[in-house]
């Protein structure tokens, strides 16, 4: 008998009562009168900067304006012309180390906690974490209220990886002092388009 069968057999042998799966239909989950405003507030609480792309403004100029000092900019988005590295064509994830600004696209945002769903849409997902500063482009019409609504929309895509990001990498592991910029991006800027 395989280990798997042995373990499953042991579980089958000891379970006495089987409990039904609860229905979640009656869950009264929080919804917001203005989900976009709630999303912006939650993002800021999580440590993100939120900017709206002005009508007619160019995304490249906007990002450049936010990070005038940036040398290495990584992105595979077709509308980004200022990129100096492409996470689709780098030889290894390690080559992305030293990226000043990574620019990626989010699918939708979550009003209750500022999470943005980022399905992997590039060969090296390292760009989402290894960049010193992360810029996430997000359509302001793509905001859901809460995680229940969010998980009905989650799609990992072909790469089989996706993450909700809410704010920069952070830690309070030294004496409970909150510090932004632990192991991944030190800043997150959400650009609403």
């Amino acid at each position: 008998m395989s280990r798997k069968e042995e373990i499953l057999g042991r579980i089958r042998a000891v379970i006495r009562e089987r409990y039904d799966k609860p229905s979640l239909d009656d869950l009264q989950a929080t919804v917001f009168p203005d989900p976009l405003a709630a999303f912006i507030a939650a993002s800021q609480t999580a440590g993100s900067k939120v900017v709206e792309l002005a009508t007619g403004a160019d995304i490249n100029e906007t990002v450049r304006g936010l990070f005038p000092e940036a040398g290495v900019i990584a992105s595979n988005l077709p509308e980004i012309s200022i990129a100096t590295l492409n996470p689709d064509t780098v030889g290894s994830a390690q080559e992305l180390n030293g990226t000043d600004v990574g620019i990626i696209r989010g699918s939708f945002g979550v009003a209750e906690n500022g999470c943005i769903w980022i399905p992997q849409a590039m060969k090296e997902k390292a760009v989402c974490f290894i960049s010193e500063n992360l810029v996430i482009l997000l359509s302001k019409t793509e905001i859901v209220n809460n995680m229940h609504e969010a998980y009905r929309r989650v799609d990992l895509g072909d790469y089989g990886y996706g993450t909700f990001i809410s704010g920069p990498s952070k830690t309070a592991d030294i004496a409970q002092t909150l510090v932004m910029g632990a192991q991944a991006a030190r800043s997150v800027t959400v650009v609403l388009v």
Binding site: S2, K4, I7, L8, R10, I11, R12, V14, I15, E17, Y19, K21, P22, L24, D26, L27, Q28, A29, A42, T45, A46, A93, Q94, N97, E112, G114, C115, E124, K125, A126, C128, F129, I130, N146, M147, H148, Y151, V154, L156, Y159, G160, Y161, G162, T163, F164, S166, G167, S169, K170, T171, A172, D173, I174, A175, Q176, T177, V179, A182, Q183, A184
Partner: protein, 428 residues
């Protein structure tokens, strides 16, 4: 006096430190309260979470099969480990078959439970913890004092001096947490770039999709799996839940309960290896769990999602610290898990409870932690681990109450003396 009480007594000798410890965890409890009060559906979420866990655990055979077959369909390699030794061996075999000499890993209490790090190190593999708190205690050769904030017992000076000794920081005397965190970032960045494999635990396994879900604030699980070409994920059997609808309930509860944030910075789903990488390995670990599910009185402890809120609120944990407990998981849930693991070894922890039941009022999956500890106390005679003084006292009381004449004599004598004048023997 129990083993826990003795260690707690030593902990309390430093009054300033113990007051700081108490206040620190109470502040986390208050942050959690702010979160729970901000969601009108909080109690409904807890009830649903509890019901989903009861359902899943009582159908665990089916959900594990579904999870494993989905994961295999996704192209991952699924292993089953009966115990800690088997788990460690599986990890080592995967690493050595890929010629890996160094791994970066994100926080996993399961690998702590199995003693994986010392095992791999004995086999010549370097293990680098990448959660900042875990890295600090790893360098100090210590165990975590809390499951979510493993290095919370240390002061910035202690961390700063450690980093100076290890060559991580170069400004001697700069013990500012922001500076120290930045220096650790630089040091760990180098480890991420050069490790041969990344290892993660899992907060959840999703049966419907085969996803492994890992929640971190630091992004270290994502860094650990973005650079190395090999990803090994380890999860205890009880981490599997049915589907995304269930996950939404737990995701909303976990971080709010743990640190008082509405979410962790990263909630990451791993379904398969990235392009050009080796297939992902998932190790499902039993190590006692399949037996515990059959423990009629205590199986519900397996509902735990490891948020640590029971520790933060516990008046005994706050005033005795994580190292006063004999099991590697402290606090109310640790008392219960330790007793499931080995009641003879961990009976000393059941005294670390005032039965105030604050823990079960905050537990996001509604485990009756205090009731469980009370029940364990009743079971101590089964293992002969009840305190001798209490056994004698109960025997004596039983004799008195069972003999009316003796009782009348005793009660006829006692009230004549005021209670405070009675000389009681000092407790042992």
């Amino acid at each position: 006096m129990s083993k826990h009480s003795k260690k707690a007594k030593a902990f309390l000798k430093d009054a300033g430190y113990s007051e700081w410890h108490d206040a620190t965890f109470w502040a986390v409890r208050e942050k959690r309260d702010n979160m729970s009060h901000g969601l009108p559906e909080w109690e409904q979420l807890r009830e649903k979470a509890s019901q989903i866990k009861l359902h899943t655990l009582s159908h665990l055979d089916q959900y594990l099969e579904q999870f494993a077959s989905q994961a295999e369909k996704n192209g991952t390699i699924v292993h089953w480990a009966a115990d800690a030794a088997e788990f460690n061996q599986i990890v080592f075999e995967i690493l050595s078959s890929h010629g890996v000499k160094k791994i970066v890993k994100s926080k996993s209490m399961l690998t702590e439970e199995c003693g994986m790090n010392p095992y791999l190190e004995s086999k010549g593999i370097e293990v680098v913890e990448t959660d900042l708190g875990e890295r600090i205690i790893q360098l100090l050769g210590q165990a975590p004092s809390h499951i979510v904030m493993p290095a919370v017992h240390l002061t910035p000076d202690q961390v700063g001096e450690l980093f100076e000794r290890e060559g991580i920081s170069d400004e001697i005397g700069n013990h500012d947490p922001t500076y120290l965190t930045y220096r650790a970032r630089l040091s760990l960045r180098n480890e991420f770039l050069t490790a041969g494999a990344g290892m993660t635990g899992a907060n959840f396994g999703i049966a419907a999709t085969g996803d492994i879900v890992v929640c971190t604030n630091e992004g270290n699980a994502d860094m650990s799996t973005s650079c190395p070409k090999l990803h090994i994920a380890a999860l205890g059997l009880e981490k599997v839940i049915p589907d995304y609808d269930s996950l939404a309930v737990f995701q909303r509860l976990l971080c709010r309960s743990a640190t008082g944030q509405p979410t962790t910075s990263y909630t990451s789903h791993f379904r398969k290896a990235r392009p050009g990488a080796e297939p992902m390995h998932i190790i499902l670990v039993d190590n006692g769990r399949s037996q515990w599910i059959g423990n009629q009185q205590h199986w519900k402890t397996l509902k735990c999602i490891r948020c640590g809120s029971c520790m933060n609120t516990c008046p005994v944990y706050r005033r005795s610290g994580g190292y006063s407990y004999s099991y590697f998981i402290p606090g109310p849930v640790g008392v219960n898990l330790g007793m499931l693991r080995d009641p003879r070894a961990h009976s000393g922890n059941v005294s670390a409870c005032t039965l105030c039941k604050s823990c079960q009022c905050v537990c996001p999956v509604k485990i009756d932690l205090g009731e469980q500890i009370y029940q364990w106390r009743q079971q101590l005679p089964e293992w002969g681990t009840e305190p001798a003084s209490k056994r004698m006292l109960c025997k004596g009381m039983s004799t008195v109450f069972n003999h009316p004449l003796l009782y009348k004599t005793a009660t006829g004598v006692l009230p004549k003396k005021p209670f405070h004048s009675l000389k009681l023997d000092k407790d042992e």
